[in-house]
Symmetry: C2
Subunit: 263 residues, 2 copies
Protein backbone atom coordinates (compact mmCIF):
# COMPACT_ATOMS: atom_id res chain seq x y z
CA UNK A 1 0.00 0.00 0.00
CA UNK A 2 1.32 3.42 -0.85
CA UNK A 3 1.53 6.50 1.32
CA UNK A 4 -0.87 8.78 -0.57
CA UNK A 5 -4.59 9.35 -0.37
CA UNK A 6 -7.22 6.89 -1.39
CA UNK A 7 -10.04 7.82 -3.74
CA UNK A 8 -13.33 6.00 -4.15
CA UNK A 9 -16.12 6.80 -6.57
CA UNK A 10 -19.37 5.06 -7.44
CA UNK A 11 -21.72 5.87 -10.31
CA UNK A 12 -24.81 3.74 -11.00
CA UNK A 13 -28.01 3.44 -13.03
CA UNK A 14 -30.09 2.56 -9.95
CA UNK A 15 -29.69 3.85 -6.39
CA UNK A 16 -27.05 1.76 -4.67
CA UNK A 17 -25.44 1.92 -1.27
CA UNK A 18 -21.70 2.39 -1.06
CA UNK A 19 -21.24 0.57 2.24
CA UNK A 20 -19.25 -2.40 0.90
CA UNK A 21 -16.71 -0.28 -0.96
CA UNK A 22 -16.61 2.41 1.73
CA UNK A 23 -15.85 -0.28 4.30
CA UNK A 24 -12.85 -1.28 2.24
CA UNK A 25 -11.71 2.34 2.01
CA UNK A 26 -12.36 3.08 5.68
CA UNK A 27 -10.18 0.14 6.70
CA UNK A 28 -7.32 1.95 5.02
CA UNK A 29 -8.14 4.97 7.18
CA UNK A 30 -5.96 4.04 10.10
CA UNK A 31 -6.49 0.35 10.89
CA UNK A 32 -4.85 -1.19 7.85
CA UNK A 33 -3.42 1.63 5.82
CA UNK A 34 -1.39 4.74 6.58
CA UNK A 35 -4.28 7.08 5.72
CA UNK A 36 -5.14 8.64 9.01
CA UNK A 37 -5.49 12.38 8.53
CA UNK A 38 -9.16 12.68 7.71
CA UNK A 39 -11.82 11.33 5.44
CA UNK A 40 -14.94 12.43 3.63
CA UNK A 41 -17.89 11.00 1.75
CA UNK A 42 -20.21 12.86 -0.62
CA UNK A 43 -23.54 11.34 -1.67
CA UNK A 44 -25.66 12.90 -4.39
CA UNK A 45 -29.43 13.15 -4.50
CA UNK A 46 -30.14 14.63 -7.91
CA UNK A 47 -28.09 17.78 -8.35
CA UNK A 48 -27.56 18.24 -4.61
CA UNK A 49 -25.04 16.50 -2.43
CA UNK A 50 -24.62 15.81 1.23
CA UNK A 51 -21.16 15.40 2.59
CA UNK A 52 -19.85 13.66 5.69
CA UNK A 53 -16.47 15.06 6.64
CA UNK A 54 -14.20 14.16 9.51
CA UNK A 55 -10.70 15.54 10.05
CA UNK A 56 -9.74 12.33 11.93
CA UNK A 57 -9.01 8.69 11.17
CA UNK A 58 -11.81 6.81 9.42
CA UNK A 59 -11.17 3.39 10.88
CA UNK A 60 -12.02 4.42 14.45
CA UNK A 61 -14.57 7.07 13.47
CA UNK A 62 -18.02 6.84 14.99
CA UNK A 63 -19.37 8.73 11.98
CA UNK A 64 -17.81 6.23 9.59
CA UNK A 65 -19.32 3.44 11.68
CA UNK A 66 -22.70 5.17 11.44
CA UNK A 67 -22.40 5.28 7.64
CA UNK A 68 -21.37 1.63 7.46
CA UNK A 69 -24.36 0.70 9.58
CA UNK A 70 -26.96 2.91 7.95
CA UNK A 71 -26.65 2.69 4.16
CA UNK A 72 -27.82 5.63 2.09
CA UNK A 73 -28.59 4.76 -1.53
CA UNK A 74 -27.33 7.06 -4.24
CA UNK A 75 -26.56 7.18 -7.96
CA UNK A 76 -23.27 9.00 -7.47
CA UNK A 77 -20.82 9.05 -4.58
CA UNK A 78 -17.26 10.24 -3.99
CA UNK A 79 -15.15 9.32 -0.97
CA UNK A 80 -11.63 10.18 0.12
CA UNK A 81 -9.30 9.06 2.85
CA UNK A 82 -6.42 11.43 3.38
CA UNK A 83 -2.77 11.02 4.15
CA UNK A 84 -1.61 14.57 4.61
CA UNK A 85 0.76 15.75 1.93
CA UNK A 86 0.36 19.53 2.10
CA UNK A 87 -1.53 21.80 4.46
CA UNK A 88 -2.45 21.18 8.09
CA UNK A 89 -5.19 18.80 9.17
CA UNK A 90 -8.45 20.72 9.40
CA UNK A 91 -12.03 20.61 8.25
CA UNK A 92 -11.25 23.17 5.54
CA UNK A 93 -8.58 20.83 4.14
CA UNK A 94 -10.73 17.69 4.20
CA UNK A 95 -11.85 16.24 0.85
CA UNK A 96 -14.24 16.02 -0.93
CA UNK A 97 -14.64 19.73 -1.64
CA UNK A 98 -17.99 21.10 -2.80
CA UNK A 99 -19.00 24.16 -4.80
CA UNK A 100 -22.22 25.22 -6.51
CA UNK A 101 -22.02 26.02 -10.21
CA UNK A 102 -24.94 26.29 -12.66
CA UNK A 103 -27.43 25.39 -9.95
CA UNK A 104 -25.82 22.07 -9.08
CA UNK A 105 -23.20 20.83 -6.67
CA UNK A 106 -19.79 19.91 -8.02
CA UNK A 107 -17.75 17.58 -5.79
CA UNK A 108 -14.01 16.98 -6.00
CA UNK A 109 -11.48 14.69 -4.36
CA UNK A 110 -7.81 14.46 -5.27
CA UNK A 111 -4.89 12.13 -4.80
CA UNK A 112 -1.41 13.54 -5.35
CA UNK A 113 0.29 16.90 -5.34
CA UNK A 114 -0.24 19.60 -7.96
CA UNK A 115 2.94 21.62 -8.15
CA UNK A 116 2.62 25.20 -9.31
CA UNK A 117 -1.15 25.15 -8.99
CA UNK A 118 -1.25 28.69 -7.57
CA UNK A 119 -0.48 30.16 -10.98
CA UNK A 120 -3.89 28.96 -12.22
CA UNK A 121 -6.58 31.56 -11.55
CA UNK A 122 -9.70 30.49 -9.66
CA UNK A 123 -11.93 33.47 -10.50
CA UNK A 124 -14.94 33.66 -8.26
CA UNK A 125 -14.18 30.28 -6.66
CA UNK A 126 -12.01 31.00 -3.64
CA UNK A 127 -10.27 28.26 -1.68
CA UNK A 128 -11.30 28.11 1.98
CA UNK A 129 -8.43 25.89 3.12
CA UNK A 130 -4.76 25.74 2.18
CA UNK A 131 -4.48 22.61 0.03
CA UNK A 132 -3.22 22.52 -3.54
CA UNK A 133 -6.17 20.17 -4.15
CA UNK A 134 -8.89 22.71 -3.35
CA UNK A 135 -7.06 25.34 -5.40
CA UNK A 136 -6.95 22.93 -8.35
CA UNK A 137 -10.69 22.26 -7.95
CA UNK A 138 -11.46 25.98 -7.95
CA UNK A 139 -9.25 26.44 -11.04
CA UNK A 140 -11.09 23.61 -12.84
CA UNK A 141 -14.49 25.15 -12.06
CA UNK A 142 -13.28 28.59 -13.13
CA UNK A 143 -12.15 27.13 -16.46
CA UNK A 144 -15.50 25.53 -17.26
CA UNK A 145 -17.43 28.52 -15.94
CA UNK A 146 -15.48 30.72 -18.37
CA UNK A 147 -15.91 28.19 -21.21
CA UNK A 148 -19.69 27.94 -20.77
CA UNK A 149 -20.96 31.36 -19.66
CA UNK A 150 -24.55 30.34 -20.41
CA UNK A 151 -24.37 27.37 -18.06
CA UNK A 152 -24.31 23.61 -18.42
CA UNK A 153 -23.86 22.86 -22.14
CA UNK A 154 -26.70 21.12 -23.97
CA UNK A 155 -24.18 18.72 -25.48
CA UNK A 156 -22.46 17.32 -22.37
CA UNK A 157 -19.55 15.96 -24.41
CA UNK A 158 -18.42 19.59 -24.78
CA UNK A 159 -18.12 19.71 -21.00
CA UNK A 160 -16.20 16.42 -20.94
CA UNK A 161 -13.63 17.72 -23.41
CA UNK A 162 -13.30 21.11 -21.67
CA UNK A 163 -12.70 19.36 -18.37
CA UNK A 164 -10.14 17.07 -19.98
CA UNK A 165 -8.22 20.06 -21.36
CA UNK A 166 -8.40 21.98 -18.08
CA UNK A 167 -7.24 18.93 -16.12
CA UNK A 168 -4.30 18.44 -18.46
CA UNK A 169 -3.24 22.09 -18.12
CA UNK A 170 -3.64 22.25 -14.34
CA UNK A 171 -2.06 18.84 -13.75
CA UNK A 172 0.87 19.24 -16.13
CA UNK A 173 3.48 19.65 -13.39
CA UNK A 174 1.87 17.49 -10.75
CA UNK A 175 0.16 14.28 -9.80
CA UNK A 176 -3.42 15.01 -10.65
CA UNK A 177 -5.47 11.90 -9.93
CA UNK A 178 -8.99 13.07 -9.16
CA UNK A 179 -12.68 12.26 -8.99
CA UNK A 180 -15.14 14.99 -9.95
CA UNK A 181 -18.93 14.72 -9.78
CA UNK A 182 -21.49 17.09 -11.26
CA UNK A 183 -24.67 15.26 -10.25
CA UNK A 184 -24.94 13.65 -13.68
CA UNK A 185 -21.44 12.34 -14.43
CA UNK A 186 -18.47 11.03 -12.54
CA UNK A 187 -15.20 12.20 -14.06
CA UNK A 188 -12.19 10.14 -13.04
CA UNK A 189 -8.73 11.27 -14.08
CA UNK A 190 -5.67 9.08 -13.79
CA UNK A 191 -2.24 10.65 -13.42
CA UNK A 192 -0.38 7.83 -11.75
CA UNK A 193 -2.90 5.39 -10.34
CA UNK A 194 -6.60 4.83 -10.69
CA UNK A 195 -8.70 1.83 -11.64
CA UNK A 196 -12.32 0.95 -12.17
CA UNK A 197 -14.76 -1.89 -12.49
CA UNK A 198 -18.33 -1.98 -13.79
CA UNK A 199 -20.40 -4.52 -11.92
CA UNK A 200 -23.33 -5.82 -13.98
CA UNK A 201 -25.22 -9.06 -14.58
CA UNK A 202 -24.30 -11.81 -14.07
CA UNK A 203 -23.33 -10.55 -10.60
CA UNK A 204 -20.87 -12.57 -8.53
CA UNK A 205 -19.31 -12.62 -5.11
CA UNK A 206 -16.57 -10.15 -4.28
CA UNK A 207 -14.16 -10.07 -1.35
CA UNK A 208 -12.45 -6.96 0.00
CA UNK A 209 -8.70 -6.85 -0.56
CA UNK A 210 -8.01 -5.59 2.98
CA UNK A 211 -10.50 -7.71 4.89
CA UNK A 212 -12.39 -10.95 4.72
CA UNK A 213 -15.69 -9.18 4.10
CA UNK A 214 -17.52 -10.75 1.16
CA UNK A 215 -20.67 -9.63 -0.61
CA UNK A 216 -22.65 -11.68 -3.10
CA UNK A 217 -23.85 -8.91 -5.38
CA UNK A 218 -26.31 -11.32 -7.02
CA UNK A 219 -28.31 -11.19 -3.80
CA UNK A 220 -28.53 -7.39 -3.62
CA UNK A 221 -29.03 -6.43 -7.28
CA UNK A 222 -31.41 -6.84 -10.16
CA UNK A 223 -30.27 -7.98 -13.62
CA UNK A 224 -30.49 -4.45 -15.03
CA UNK A 225 -28.26 -2.83 -12.39
CA UNK A 226 -24.96 -1.34 -13.46
CA UNK A 227 -22.53 -0.02 -10.87
CA UNK A 228 -19.22 1.60 -11.79
CA UNK A 229 -16.69 1.71 -8.95
CA UNK A 230 -13.50 3.74 -9.29
CA UNK A 231 -10.66 3.55 -6.78
CA UNK A 232 -6.99 4.36 -6.33
CA UNK A 233 -6.22 0.65 -6.11
CA UNK A 234 -8.45 -2.41 -6.58
CA UNK A 235 -10.68 -2.77 -3.54
CA UNK A 236 -11.45 -6.45 -4.11
CA UNK A 237 -9.16 -9.38 -4.65
CA UNK A 238 -11.40 -11.57 -6.80
CA UNK A 239 -12.57 -9.18 -9.53
CA UNK A 240 -10.79 -7.82 -12.61
CA UNK A 241 -10.19 -4.07 -12.41
CA UNK A 242 -9.23 -1.92 -15.40
CA UNK A 243 -6.07 0.08 -14.69
CA UNK A 244 -5.92 3.71 -15.88
CA UNK A 245 -3.22 5.11 -18.13
CA UNK A 246 -1.45 8.35 -17.16
CA UNK A 247 -3.32 11.43 -18.33
CA UNK A 248 -6.59 9.84 -19.40
CA UNK A 249 -9.93 10.83 -17.93
CA UNK A 250 -12.89 8.48 -17.74
CA UNK A 251 -16.46 9.75 -17.91
CA UNK A 252 -19.06 7.58 -16.21
CA UNK A 253 -22.81 7.97 -16.66
CA UNK A 254 -25.64 5.61 -15.71
CA UNK A 255 -23.18 2.95 -14.62
CA UNK A 256 -21.33 2.90 -17.94
CA UNK A 257 -18.01 4.23 -19.15
CA UNK A 258 -19.45 6.89 -21.47
CA UNK A 259 -16.12 8.19 -22.77
CA UNK A 260 -12.40 8.16 -22.25
CA UNK A 261 -10.82 11.58 -22.81
CA UNK A 262 -7.29 10.98 -24.09
CA UNK A 263 -4.23 12.43 -22.41
CA UNK B 1 -46.48 25.34 19.00
CA UNK B 2 -46.91 26.72 15.51
CA UNK B 3 -46.79 24.93 12.19
CA UNK B 4 -43.68 26.51 10.73
CA UNK B 5 -40.02 25.64 10.82
CA UNK B 6 -37.80 25.85 13.83
CA UNK B 7 -34.48 27.67 13.79
CA UNK B 8 -31.61 27.20 16.20
CA UNK B 9 -28.33 29.07 16.28
CA UNK B 10 -25.39 29.08 18.68
CA UNK B 11 -22.45 31.48 18.73
CA UNK B 12 -19.78 31.30 21.45
CA UNK B 13 -16.42 32.59 22.61
CA UNK B 14 -15.14 29.07 23.39
CA UNK B 15 -15.89 25.82 21.54
CA UNK B 16 -19.17 24.46 22.86
CA UNK B 17 -21.29 21.50 21.92
CA UNK B 18 -24.83 22.11 20.78
CA UNK B 19 -26.24 18.79 21.99
CA UNK B 20 -28.53 20.17 24.69
CA UNK B 21 -30.20 22.73 22.46
CA UNK B 22 -30.21 20.41 19.43
CA UNK B 23 -31.96 17.78 21.54
CA UNK B 24 -34.69 20.28 22.26
CA UNK B 25 -34.99 21.12 18.59
CA UNK B 26 -34.86 17.49 17.44
CA UNK B 27 -37.75 16.63 19.74
CA UNK B 28 -39.83 19.03 17.72
CA UNK B 29 -38.82 17.09 14.61
CA UNK B 30 -41.61 14.59 14.69
CA UNK B 31 -42.01 13.31 18.24
CA UNK B 32 -43.37 16.44 19.91
CA UNK B 33 -43.83 19.00 17.17
CA UNK B 34 -45.26 18.98 13.66
CA UNK B 35 -41.84 19.52 12.05
CA UNK B 36 -41.26 16.31 10.22
CA UNK B 37 -40.08 17.13 6.71
CA UNK B 38 -36.34 17.24 7.20
CA UNK B 39 -33.66 18.76 9.34
CA UNK B 40 -30.11 20.00 9.08
CA UNK B 41 -27.24 21.08 11.29
CA UNK B 42 -24.20 23.12 10.24
CA UNK B 43 -21.10 23.29 12.47
CA UNK B 44 -18.26 25.69 11.73
CA UNK B 45 -14.57 25.05 12.19
CA UNK B 46 -12.97 28.40 11.36
CA UNK B 47 -14.22 29.58 7.98
CA UNK B 48 -15.30 26.09 6.91
CA UNK B 49 -18.47 24.30 7.83
CA UNK B 50 -19.69 20.75 7.89
CA UNK B 51 -23.32 20.08 7.47
CA UNK B 52 -25.49 17.15 8.48
CA UNK B 53 -28.65 17.05 6.38
CA UNK B 54 -31.52 14.63 6.44
CA UNK B 55 -34.70 14.96 4.39
CA UNK B 56 -36.61 12.97 7.05
CA UNK B 57 -37.93 13.44 10.58
CA UNK B 58 -35.30 14.36 13.15
CA UNK B 59 -36.87 12.69 16.17
CA UNK B 60 -36.47 9.15 14.79
CA UNK B 61 -33.31 9.89 12.82
CA UNK B 62 -30.29 7.70 13.45
CA UNK B 63 -28.09 10.56 12.27
CA UNK B 64 -29.66 12.93 14.78
CA UNK B 65 -29.15 10.28 17.45
CA UNK B 66 -25.49 10.04 16.41
CA UNK B 67 -25.10 13.80 16.80
CA UNK B 68 -26.81 13.77 20.19
CA UNK B 69 -24.50 11.00 21.32
CA UNK B 70 -21.26 12.31 19.88
CA UNK B 71 -20.93 16.03 20.58
CA UNK B 72 -18.84 18.14 18.24
CA UNK B 73 -17.64 21.42 19.75
CA UNK B 74 -17.89 24.56 17.68
CA UNK B 75 -17.94 28.35 17.97
CA UNK B 76 -20.83 28.74 15.53
CA UNK B 77 -23.69 26.43 14.63
CA UNK B 78 -26.98 26.71 12.76
CA UNK B 79 -29.73 24.11 12.83
CA UNK B 80 -33.14 23.85 11.21
CA UNK B 81 -36.10 21.53 11.46
CA UNK B 82 -38.49 21.85 8.58
CA UNK B 83 -42.21 21.78 8.17
CA UNK B 84 -42.70 21.95 4.44
CA UNK B 85 -44.25 25.17 3.27
CA UNK B 86 -43.12 25.34 -0.35
CA UNK B 87 -41.26 22.92 -2.57
CA UNK B 88 -41.16 19.13 -2.33
CA UNK B 89 -39.18 17.28 0.34
CA UNK B 90 -35.71 16.61 -0.99
CA UNK B 91 -32.08 16.99 -0.06
CA UNK B 92 -31.83 20.06 -2.30
CA UNK B 93 -34.63 21.72 -0.29
CA UNK B 94 -33.21 20.88 3.14
CA UNK B 95 -31.83 23.75 5.24
CA UNK B 96 -29.25 24.97 6.14
CA UNK B 97 -27.98 25.98 2.72
CA UNK B 98 -24.27 26.57 2.14
CA UNK B 99 -22.32 28.66 -0.35
CA UNK B 100 -18.70 29.78 -0.56
CA UNK B 101 -18.08 33.52 -0.83
CA UNK B 102 -14.77 35.35 -0.22
CA UNK B 103 -13.05 32.10 0.69
CA UNK B 104 -15.42 31.22 3.52
CA UNK B 105 -18.62 29.27 3.90
CA UNK B 106 -21.85 31.16 4.40
CA UNK B 107 -24.68 29.15 5.96
CA UNK B 108 -28.37 30.06 5.91
CA UNK B 109 -31.58 28.72 7.45
CA UNK B 110 -35.00 30.33 7.14
CA UNK B 111 -38.36 30.21 8.81
CA UNK B 112 -41.31 31.58 6.90
CA UNK B 113 -42.28 32.29 3.32
CA UNK B 114 -40.76 35.05 1.18
CA UNK B 115 -43.37 36.12 -1.32
CA UNK B 116 -42.11 37.55 -4.60
CA UNK B 117 -38.55 36.47 -3.92
CA UNK B 118 -37.97 35.46 -7.54
CA UNK B 119 -37.82 39.10 -8.59
CA UNK B 120 -34.57 39.48 -6.64
CA UNK B 121 -31.56 38.56 -8.79
CA UNK B 122 -29.11 35.96 -7.48
CA UNK B 123 -26.23 36.66 -9.86
CA UNK B 124 -23.70 33.90 -9.84
CA UNK B 125 -25.39 32.13 -6.92
CA UNK B 126 -27.88 29.72 -8.44
CA UNK B 127 -30.44 27.84 -6.37
CA UNK B 128 -30.13 24.06 -6.57
CA UNK B 129 -33.54 23.28 -5.08
CA UNK B 130 -36.94 24.92 -5.46
CA UNK B 131 -37.48 26.73 -2.16
CA UNK B 132 -38.07 30.45 -1.77
CA UNK B 133 -35.60 30.20 1.13
CA UNK B 134 -32.61 29.14 -0.97
CA UNK B 135 -33.47 31.80 -3.56
CA UNK B 136 -33.54 34.43 -0.80
CA UNK B 137 -30.15 33.21 0.48
CA UNK B 138 -28.65 33.46 -3.03
CA UNK B 139 -30.12 36.95 -3.40
CA UNK B 140 -28.61 38.02 -0.05
CA UNK B 141 -25.17 36.75 -1.07
CA UNK B 142 -25.43 38.40 -4.46
CA UNK B 143 -26.23 41.71 -2.76
CA UNK B 144 -23.19 41.65 -0.48
CA UNK B 145 -20.95 40.30 -3.26
CA UNK B 146 -21.96 43.31 -5.38
CA UNK B 147 -21.56 45.70 -2.45
CA UNK B 148 -18.04 44.48 -1.57
CA UNK B 149 -16.32 43.51 -4.84
CA UNK B 150 -12.94 43.40 -3.09
CA UNK B 151 -14.13 40.82 -0.59
CA UNK B 152 -14.89 40.77 3.11
CA UNK B 153 -14.83 44.42 4.31
CA UNK B 154 -12.12 45.43 6.77
CA UNK B 155 -14.76 47.14 8.88
CA UNK B 156 -17.26 44.33 9.48
CA UNK B 157 -19.97 46.77 10.58
CA UNK B 158 -20.26 47.73 6.90
CA UNK B 159 -21.19 44.13 6.18
CA UNK B 160 -23.74 44.11 9.03
CA UNK B 161 -25.50 47.18 7.65
CA UNK B 162 -25.42 45.92 4.06
CA UNK B 163 -26.96 42.63 5.18
CA UNK B 164 -29.59 44.48 7.17
CA UNK B 165 -30.60 46.53 4.12
CA UNK B 166 -30.62 43.50 1.81
CA UNK B 167 -32.70 41.50 4.30
CA UNK B 168 -35.22 44.33 4.57
CA UNK B 169 -35.55 44.60 0.78
CA UNK B 170 -35.81 40.86 0.17
CA UNK B 171 -38.12 40.22 3.08
CA UNK B 172 -40.43 43.18 2.51
CA UNK B 173 -43.36 41.08 1.26
CA UNK B 174 -42.72 37.95 3.26
CA UNK B 175 -41.90 36.32 6.53
CA UNK B 176 -38.15 36.50 6.60
CA UNK B 177 -36.94 35.06 9.91
CA UNK B 178 -33.45 33.72 9.28
CA UNK B 179 -30.09 32.72 10.70
CA UNK B 180 -26.99 33.46 8.62
CA UNK B 181 -23.43 32.50 9.53
CA UNK B 182 -20.22 33.68 7.90
CA UNK B 183 -17.71 31.83 10.09
CA UNK B 184 -17.17 34.97 12.23
CA UNK B 185 -20.68 36.25 12.98
CA UNK B 186 -24.13 34.87 13.45
CA UNK B 187 -26.77 37.15 11.95
CA UNK B 188 -30.29 36.53 13.27
CA UNK B 189 -33.20 38.38 11.71
CA UNK B 190 -36.64 38.47 13.24
CA UNK B 191 -39.69 38.97 11.03
CA UNK B 192 -42.36 37.40 13.21
CA UNK B 193 -40.68 35.25 15.84
CA UNK B 194 -37.15 34.79 17.09
CA UNK B 195 -35.59 34.98 20.52
CA UNK B 196 -32.18 34.68 22.12
CA UNK B 197 -30.37 34.17 25.36
CA UNK B 198 -26.73 34.70 26.28
CA UNK B 199 -25.58 32.19 28.85
CA UNK B 200 -22.67 33.43 30.93
CA UNK B 201 -21.38 33.30 34.49
CA UNK B 202 -22.93 32.70 36.93
CA UNK B 203 -24.23 29.66 35.05
CA UNK B 204 -27.37 27.92 36.28
CA UNK B 205 -29.50 24.90 35.55
CA UNK B 206 -31.77 24.91 32.52
CA UNK B 207 -34.59 22.54 31.57
CA UNK B 208 -35.83 21.90 28.03
CA UNK B 209 -39.32 23.22 27.34
CA UNK B 210 -40.34 20.05 25.49
CA UNK B 211 -38.74 17.46 27.72
CA UNK B 212 -37.55 16.89 31.22
CA UNK B 213 -33.90 17.03 30.18
CA UNK B 214 -31.94 19.36 32.46
CA UNK B 215 -28.37 20.56 32.21
CA UNK B 216 -26.45 22.34 34.92
CA UNK B 217 -24.31 24.63 32.79
CA UNK B 218 -22.16 25.48 35.81
CA UNK B 219 -20.77 21.95 35.56
CA UNK B 220 -19.82 22.13 31.89
CA UNK B 221 -18.50 25.68 31.58
CA UNK B 222 -15.75 27.99 32.80
CA UNK B 223 -16.48 31.46 34.20
CA UNK B 224 -15.29 33.16 31.00
CA UNK B 225 -17.58 31.22 28.67
CA UNK B 226 -20.26 33.09 26.79
CA UNK B 227 -22.80 31.23 24.69
CA UNK B 228 -25.49 32.97 22.66
CA UNK B 229 -28.40 30.74 21.68
CA UNK B 230 -30.99 31.93 19.19
CA UNK B 231 -34.21 30.03 18.49
CA UNK B 232 -37.65 30.41 16.98
CA UNK B 233 -39.19 29.96 20.42
CA UNK B 234 -37.60 29.64 23.88
CA UNK B 235 -36.06 26.18 24.18
CA UNK B 236 -35.97 26.19 27.98
CA UNK B 237 -38.69 26.85 30.50
CA UNK B 238 -36.57 28.26 33.34
CA UNK B 239 -34.49 30.95 31.62
CA UNK B 240 -35.38 34.43 30.43
CA UNK B 241 -35.22 34.79 26.66
CA UNK B 242 -35.18 38.11 24.80
CA UNK B 243 -37.94 38.29 22.20
CA UNK B 244 -37.15 39.86 18.81
CA UNK B 245 -39.04 42.74 17.28
CA UNK B 246 -40.26 42.51 13.68
CA UNK B 247 -37.61 43.61 11.18
CA UNK B 248 -34.61 43.81 13.48
CA UNK B 249 -31.45 41.83 12.91
CA UNK B 250 -29.11 40.78 15.70
CA UNK B 251 -25.38 40.38 15.12
CA UNK B 252 -23.62 37.96 17.46
CA UNK B 253 -19.86 37.67 17.80
CA UNK B 254 -17.77 35.91 20.47
CA UNK B 255 -20.88 35.07 22.46
CA UNK B 256 -22.08 38.67 22.67
CA UNK B 257 -24.78 40.67 20.97
CA UNK B 258 -22.45 42.93 18.96
CA UNK B 259 -25.16 45.00 17.30
CA UNK B 260 -28.86 45.26 16.57
CA UNK B 261 -29.58 46.49 13.05
CA UNK B 262 -32.86 48.36 13.17
CA UNK B 263 -35.81 47.48 10.96
Amino acid sequence: MDSMCELLGMECNVPTDIVFSFSGLALRGGARGPHSDGWGLALYEGRAVRTFLEPAAAADSKLAAYIRGYPIKTLLAIAHVRKKTRGPISLANTHPFVRELWGRHFVFAHNGTVRGVKRHPTGRFRPIGTTDSEHAFCALLHRIDEAFPRGYPEDPSRLWRALGRAARDIGVDGTFNFLLGDGTHLFARCATKLCYIVRKAPFRRATLADDDLTVDFAEVTTPRDRVAVIATAPLTRDETWTIGRPGEMWVFRRGRLAATIAA
